[in-house]
């Protein structure tokens, strides 16, 4: 990628011509795989032309642009000014934000070109990207079109695998939505510490859990985007005001005295073929001197799932209360009283999983049930964070599979009950509940299906993830 950026900077590759080619390529990819909700052709070309002018005029700022000419796709839930941003929901059809999310502003300032909005489960509500909003298309796995891309950042992960042009994806995770699709599509995906990257301009799923993060075919690209978009934001009161590492410096940095815990409970009910591939990954780390030990992480594996779903749906049900067909997004004829009008717009435009999660979250917060569900889950969250923190006193990182299953066929997803669907998040929900940074590392294939290994580190230790993950980065 650095070579490419250099060629763009020196005008050896014409940025406008390149962007034209990429947009055409994206259209072709989209016909085959449904990775985009919108391809932002006008914006991409406008950005390319402006950058071209600066390159030709030897503008002194060009040399500081870390992403110069790199194509960046954006998960639909992240607001891009004047580009339809729906978070994959029919209720936001037609919504063209009046502003850029902070991460988009940073990408544009760094010379990254926004090529479009990628497919996701409606508001991020899913593990397989099949819960798309009414009227949206389901993305297909790059290795087998009968199988899922994983979710909810499915379009981001799929595109990262198939794009042949230099590209990085912006995804978002609430309970595993970056690493799960990264695992199913065989790419790197890094979910940062809660608060490391600004959520300003992200369409909320659950405020205390949402994180924006990068996905890419190479970890180098992921580290580069992470470095560009991290940091404090005065527009976002939950960002962390602490220094940012130069993450790209940790690619292939020599590993000394690192100790890793292998979570034994995470290997109990999984496919033996996945188990074998993860163990090969662990062997590779041991070969370069990383010490490993089996550890037990009982509470996160046993109760993380229920804790996550209660917290996430409780927050989602309040966040989605703002969609009522008045100020933006879809609207209807103003008929009936306000209750009737809001109810009609919401009932007509939310998909089934959005309705299910609104009901579950509303229930968990309701008088009479609140203490037993929502408050209980916030307390268990404290215990989950504590259990991880104890582990990180002894270990630099923890390892598990990213998913208990291989990329699943669409025909098999149909047979799952909603609870069974939720249970597929077993490996990823707890690092999300605890706000810990975690990385999916592709460790090989079982047949045509990629297998991902999940590395989790302590708060703000993204650098360690990059250092360890780069052992597996062949690009």
């Amino acid at each position: 990628m650095q070579e490419f950026i250099k060629k763009i900077r020196n005008n050896e590759i014409d940025i406008v011509e390149h962007t034209h080619k990429v947009i055409n390529e994206c259209k072709k990819i989209n016909k085959e795989y449904n990775y985009f909700n919108v391809i932002s052709e006008d914006l991409a070309l406008q950005q390319a032309k402006e950058l071209h002018k600066k390159i030709k005029n030897n503008d002194k700022n060009i040399k500081n642009k870390k992403l110069l000419g790199v194509m960046v796709s954006v998960k639909d839930g992240i607001c891009v000014k004047n580009v339809e941003s729906t978070a994959g929901s029919k209720i936001l059809r037609g919504y063209k934000p009046l502003f850029d999310a902070t991460v988009i502003k940073k990408v544009k300032d760094a010379g990254g070109i926004i090529i479009g909005k990628t497919s996701q489960d409606e508001f991020g509500f899913g593990s397989f990207n099949v819960n798309v909003g009414l009227g949206f298309e389901i993305p297909k796995n790059p290795f087998d079109k009968q199988r899922s891309c994983g979710g909810s950042s499915g379009g981001a992960a799929g595109l990262s695998q198939v794009a042949e042009f230099p590209h990085i994806a912006l995804g978002e995770s609430t309970g595993g939505s970056i690493v799960e699709p990264a695992s199913f599509c065989g790419v790197f995906g890094l979910c940062p510490t809660y608060g490391r990257i600004s959520r300003y301009g992200l369409i909320d799923y659950a405020n205390s859990l949402d994180k924006v993060g990068p996905l890419g075919k190479s970890l180098q690209a992921v580290a580069l985007l992470l470095e560009t978009i991290s940091g404090f934001d005065r527009n976002e009161s939950t960002t962390i005001n602490k220094p940012i590492d130069n993450y790209t410096d940790f690619i292939n940095k020599k590993i000394k005295n690192m100790k890793i815990g292998i979570i034994k409970e995470a290997f109990v009910d999984i496919d033996k073929k996945i188990d074998k591939k993860i163990n090969e990954g662990v062997d590779k780390l041991e070969e370069i001197g990383v010490k490993t030990e089996e550890i037990s992480l009982k509470l996160p594996i046993k109760h993380g799932l229920a804790t996550y779903y209660i917290l996430a749906t409780s927050e989602a049900s309040t966040n989605l209360a703002k969609y009522c067909g008045m100020r933006y997004g879809v609207s209807d004829k103003l008929e009936g009283n306000f209750n009737e009008y809001f109810t009609k717009v919401r009932s007509d435009n939310f998909g089934p999983e959005a309705k299910r999660r609104i009901i579950l979250g509303t229930f968990a917060r309701m008088s009479g049930y609140r203490d037993a569900y929502y408050i209980k889950a916030t307390k268990i969250r404290t215990k989950i964070v504590d259990e991880y923190k104890k582990m990180f006193k002894k270990y630099d990182a923890l390892i598990s599979p990213t998913s208990p299953i291989l990329p699943i066929k669409f025909s098999e997803i149909e047979k799952l009950s909603p609870l069974q669907h939720y249970m597929m998040d077993i490996m990823t929900v707890s690092p999300n509940v605890a706000g810990l940074p975690h990385l999916n590392v592709p460790v090989g294939f079982v047949g045509k299906s990629p297998v991902g290994m999940l590395i989790t580190a302590d708060h703000l230790e993204e650098s360690k993830l990059i250092q360890l993950g780069s052992v597996f980065d062949s690009q």
Binding site: L98, G195, H303, Y328, R346, K355, I359, A372
Partner: protein
Amino acid sequence: MKVKINKELIGHVAEVARLKLTDKEIEKFSKELREIIGSFSKLDEVDTKDIEPSLQPVGLKNMLREDKEEKSFTQEEALSLTEHKKDGYFKGPKAI
């Protein structure tokens, strides 16, 4: 906590959340949520006596800025995304 999830309860929760469900949806959601909430009730086993709740995971503190007027959207911009507007205001459905 043992909760009886039935159609009446789901219908009531939906109404609170401003969703109108069909009879078929109520039937389906009741069955699914019975399974989900039944499974999530296992959290009862976890001892949380004297444990403080965590509303977020990283120990953030309140962040306030000086109470000064800053640049924001104009009234026109704020109204530009809806067709329901009148005399510089949003126009909503009847309140009473």
